[in-house]
């Protein structure tokens, strides 16, 4: 039955709804598929897929359903998962078993990995911390080679982690997907409306009142339209440990910088930790000293910092601790952060690192200074609420002195 195709599509992560499926059925009843597989392909794709980046997934689903290719992607992933969890056990296989496994359709496997690779990219974009921090993953690629499966080609050893990352992702999925639109919606809360500026909106009630008072002589009253009065400064950490989160940060930037959203919007960059200067560009060529920045902005600006706040403790706590060899900062980073925190009435730090990695790192120290939320949909929403309404900043455990040797 064709309904299986719907589930095949959904298995490939294509979010096809009943609404769309009914439309497809209706179209087929009208004969729009021209009774050909080609026609059906085009028809189904134009109705069910609304994003170019999903076309490939659609192709996979289509070929696996219609050509009878037995790529049971899920089962295969499950198998790999089991091997990865325990490579040693696998080493104990009999030669027959091993041969059987090696005879696994390499093409199919390759296809699967290609797909994983893509998904990996997406997760990366989504800000999942698993990419690029291989050292912390319980599943190195070492777990993969003992299987004796020759899958050197696509992605090489990284594949093992990617598959592992795939499973990991499911657990986080809900709070990890943050696309521009969602950020947009969350940022919509970041507004304080007020009537300021040019008077170019007709105030109908006032006009009627005034006209009456004027004994019927028409008196038009204009008022400025309601505009957002929030002035926002975005301060972003770029480079180094922030690389895996670059895409996520840039989405936030895209949404925040959209024209007309805030009364004023400025953005600056820093690397690793804030010292004397921040920069107007992400290449650190146009410095602005923090003192100038602070004296030039009033306390009612909302400051949002984005960064992983993850660094070596000396980079934060010691004078001269800057990550740049030639940069001798006389004042430790923490002091600069404190000055910034004291200047603004409301500020928030958004951290792409998941909350469970915060304790016992520099994140904890900074979070005790600047109210910090994870850069997830929930976190962003709470940060926005705090920036507008105030209230209590998230609780942070009292800072325990960190052993500098760590």
């Amino acid at each position: 039955m064709l309904i299986d195709f719907l589930f095949e599509l959904r298995r490939h992560k294509l979010d096809v709804s009943t609404h769309e499926w009914m439309a497809l059925m209706e179209a087929m009843a009208l004969g729009l598929h021209e009774s050909s597989l080609d026609g059906f392909y085009r028809l189904a794709r134009s109705i069910c897929v609304k994003d170019v980046t999903d076309f490939d997934a659609f192709d996979l689903a289509f070929s696996s359903y219609f050509k009878g290719i037995e790529v049971d992607a899920l089962a295969l992933a499950e198998e790999l998962w089991t091997w990865l969890k325990d490579p040693k056990k696998f080493a104990g296989l009999t030669p027959e078993q091993r041969r059987a496994l090696e005879a696994l359709d390499l093409e199919a496997l390759r296809e699967l990995f290609k797909k994983r690779l893509e998904e990996q990219k997406k997760r990366h974009d989504g800000g999942n911390r698993w990419i690029g921090t291989g050292g912390r993953s319980p599943f190195g690629h070492g777990g993969f080679h003992p299987t004796g499966l020759r899958i050197g080609g696509p992605g090489g050893g990284r594949s093992a982690m990617q598959v592992a990352g795939q499973r990991r992702y499911r657990a986080y999925r809900k709070d990890m997907i943050l696309d521009v639109r969602q950020i947009d919606v969350a940022l919509r809360g970041l507004r304080q409306l007020g009537r300021e500026g040019a008077e170019d909106e007709l105030d109908l009630d006032e006009t009627v009142d005034e006209t009456c008072r004027n004994a019927g002589e028409l008196e038009l009253i204009f008022r400025p339209p309601r505009r957002n009065r929030v002035k926002l400064i975005l301060l972003m950490d770029v480079g180094g440990s922030m690389d895996p989160h670059a895409e996520l940060a840039s989405r936030l930037f895209t949404a925040a910088s959209r024209a007309g959203r805030f009364a004023s919007f400025r953005s600056y960059y820093f690397h690793n930790c804030v010292y004397e200067s921040v920069y107007e560009d992400a290449h650190f060529r146009r410095p602005v000293s923090v003192s100038d920045l602070l004296s030039g902005t009033d306390r009612d600006h909302k400051l949002v910092l984005v960064g992983d706040a993850l660094m070596h403790p000396s980079e934060l706590l010691h004078a001269g601790g800057s990550i740049y060899y030639h940069h001798q900062n006389r004042t430790p980073g923490i002091e600069w952060l404190r000055r910034i925190a004291n200047h603004f009435r409301r500020l928030a730090w958004l951290n792409p690192e998941p909350r469970q990695y915060w304790p016992h790192t520099t994140i904890e120290i900074i979070a005790s200074l600047i109210p910090m939320w994870p850069l997830t949909l929930d976190g962003l929403g709470e940060a926005v609420r705090y920036l507008i309404r105030g209230g209590r900043a998230p609780l942070v455990e009292p800072v325990v002195p960190i052993d500098p040797g760590y």
Binding site: D15, S17, H19, E20, A23, E26, A27, L30, G31, L32, G39, R42, L43, S46, I47, V49, K50, D51, V52, F55, D179, V180, R181, D184, V185, R188, L202, L204, T207, T211, G216, E217, L218, L220, A259, G260
Partner: protein, 273 residues
């Protein structure tokens, strides 16, 4: 049911098979067609040609960042009414005289079927598409001031263009037929150029396409030249009478193909111009 396969492209508009199919599906299912593709691949032109093929009127609605969904339905001109009440012109009791229909309102109240183009929908406020859901679904709306309900006698063919469908809400996307206009390959492109410049010699066309696709392959161009730029460029070459044989030496009128200084620089650096 409308006769399927009515849209086949026109003499001046060459459509790929996929695009033709998508248009015909949207027309038959009476659902909006959402088009995406690089700028300059003829998204807007398509609407004109669909209207031409179906022999119906085309109503355009160009979206700006300040466009409100309601403006598309109607505008109630209070100032004019107040003005009239003061100076006694016309019948101010008749509110409908001060209601001016917007593009969508016109499309829905038209006695005949029309093609409605909603151009660059992603430019509008984030809630804009959601505000249109009901109107596009039910194809009817209500003018609050007069209490008048308007229901479309014929569901208009709605063509929506967007440069970024990711920012459109799911609920909206679900109601659309989606088509991504791929960049034309060489073969299709030479057909497209032929339509605009039928008298171009085969060899010259070949040279032009060589240069054109060569430019598109330059990495990291901010705005790679598109179909419309190619056509303009060939027009400039023809009008100026610059010998097309010179193309081998350097690219004349590079400014018609590349639109940013940076792109120019990177092309010059690679010795292409």
């Amino acid at each position: 049911m409308t006769h399927f396969d009515r849209f086949q492209g026109t003499e001046t508009y060459i459509a790929s098979d996929d695009l033709r199919h998508a248009v015909n599906v949207a027309v038959a299912l009476e659902r909006p067609l959402l088009l995406r593709g690089e700028p300059g691949t003829g998204k807007t032109l398509l609407a004109e040609n669909v209207a031409h093929t179906l022999e119906v009127e085309l109503i355009r609605w160009h979206i700006k960042s300040t466009t409100k969904a309601r403006d598309g339905l109607y505008i109630y001109d209070t100032v004019a009414r107040l003005h009239d009440s003061r100076f006694g012109d016309g019948d101010v009791k008749d509110i409908s005289r001060y209601i001016e229909l917007g593009p969508l309102g016109k499309a829905l109240s038209s006695p005949r079927r029309v093609v409605l183009l909603i151009d660059e929908i992603d430019k509008a406020d984030i809630e804009f598409p959601n505000d249109l859901l009901l109107e596009l679904d039910a194809m009817r709306f209500r003018i609050d001031e007069t209490g008048q309900d308007i229901t479309a006698a014929h569901r208009p063919v709605v063509i929506i263009t967007s440069n970024n469908e990711k920012e459109l809400p799911d609920a909206f996307l679900r109601r659309c037929i989606f088509h991504y206009i791929e960049f034309p390959d060489r073969q299709l492109m030479s057909r497209i150029v032929r339509v605009h410049h039928p008298d171009l010699a085969e060899k010259v066309l070949d040279q032009c396409l060589d240069v054109f696709y060569g430019l598109r392959e330059v990495p990291r161009l901010r705005k790679p030249p598109s179909t419309s730029e190619l056509i303009d460029w060939i027009l400039a070459l023809k009008k100026s009478g610059v010998s097309l044989a010179r193309i081998g030496g350097g690219i004349p009128f590079l400014g018609t193909l590349l639109k940013t200084e940076q792109d120019m620089a990177s092309v010059v650096k690679r010795g292409l111009a």
